[in-house]
Symmetry: C2
Subunit: 244 residues, 2 copies
């Protein structure tokens, strides 16, 4: 691996995207990592290094994000977090809690796909501008049905945590909390009106978002240049016409 | 748990859906399980028993499939398989191979969502008939871009397996093989023309599909009443107008 850091993260440069859920885990843990595709190609990194790993060979991933560590290359956001959270101190020690954390993270994964599809309902490879009419319909259904369903579920998860509603799993910060922070941050960017309307129904989620944003390592990261701003190339895009 | 079987599977009755990937694992392993929602409500099972578990409480799942076993309730198809495959003998013993299997299964999960969205591009809660025009466009993109991308990837995975192309992971039948069998069976049902066109590019996948279908436990299951036929309520639906 790298002499600079034990973890190499590969993800599209220029967007938060799914990679952000992994970045937040490294940052919250205060762990050194290299964001490979954002480095220069002349240094042997950059996008070419990432694309090379996707081109095939034994156990090659289909898509980023993926992480190289301990001589292994692991893809799929929720899977990366399941793999690394124990050594990053971001998940409880017992097996049942770890399964519960992974189950919640896979539900976050489902939500992210639906968020993505609000602006790309017809085809990932077409521009938003070429699927605007369908996007309006899909976003309307997302805002009216799916967003309340998912956020209502996560709100109930916090409320039902026997250790209290400050965390999704157990009594301390886990990668699921970091991911729920990011979900709220992203929805607030993409759908500010819809989120404001839902706010009274999701007090625990909003409090969690605020608290996680103030965790010192996270707060430092959010102010740093390492945090890519939300933009209209990522998963969470602000198109006012979609924010019903 | 049940006196009848150590595993209780909860999934929508009447469709194969995501539950089928779990059913195939139980069936291939020759393991007794109860398909709860397909039993009668008067016996204390059926849909009411499933809905009750989704209504909330500590660590409640958002959606089926979920499995109750060993005093635990676990949701998310890929996660259920990761959890149970070791005791069902459907994954190699080493941790790296298990991670690789899970990574592949999560890629199958991604593909299934895209298959679902070919007939429901605008909203899950609307009828297909109310989103037919968008479905035609989404399906065209799926057939032209996404289906070759995913199947091409899985074909390369088989070709690159150091133990040979008969299995996705290691040298014996795993839950990933069962899932790839089901992916091909489903695509053959939903998109027969598109699959026939792709056939020359995916010989290993087609051979795997054939071989898995002949595994005695699987063959017996496929002929049984326990195998729900493909239909137009599931993930894989045959609408000729979408099979470009």
């Amino acid at each position: 691996v790298s002499k600079e850091a034990p973890y190499l993260l590969y993800y599209w440069p220029g967007i938060q995207g799914r990679g952000e859920f992994v970045r937040l885990a490294f940052e919250a843990a205060g762990t050194a990592y290299v964001d490979v595709a954002r480095r220069s190609a002349s240094s042997g990194m950059g996008l070419p290094a990432m694309m090379k790993l996707m081109q095939g060979g034994v156990r090659a991933p289909l898509a980023p994000p993926f992480v190289a560590a301990h001589g292994e290359l692991v893809a799929q956001t929720a899977h990366i977090l399941q793999w690394l959270a124990p050594e990053l101190g971001l998940v409880p020690k017992d097996a049942k809690s770890r399964r519960w954390a992974h189950q919640l993270q896979l539900t976050v994964t489902d939500l992210l796909l639906e968020v993505h599809d609000t602006h790309h309902p017809l085809a990932t490879h077409l521009y938003y501008e070429d699927q605007k009419a369908a996007a309006r319909k899909r976003a309307a259904a997302f805002v009216a049905q799916r967003m309340p369903k998912f956020l209502g579920y996560f709100e109930r998860v916090l409320a039902a945590n026997p250790a209290g509603p400050a965390h999704a799993v157990g009594r301390s910060l886990s990668y699921v909390d970091l991911s729920l922070f990011q979900v709220i941050a992203g929805l607030r960017y993409a759908f500010p009106r819809a989120l404001a309307r839902l706010a009274p129904a999701i007090p625990h989620l909003l409090t969690l978002n605020e608290r996680v944003g103030r965790v010192p390592n996270v707060a430092r990261y959010l102010k740093s240049k390492r945090r890519i701003p939300f933009n209209e190339n990522g998963i969470f895009r602000h198109y006012p016409e979609l924010d019903h």
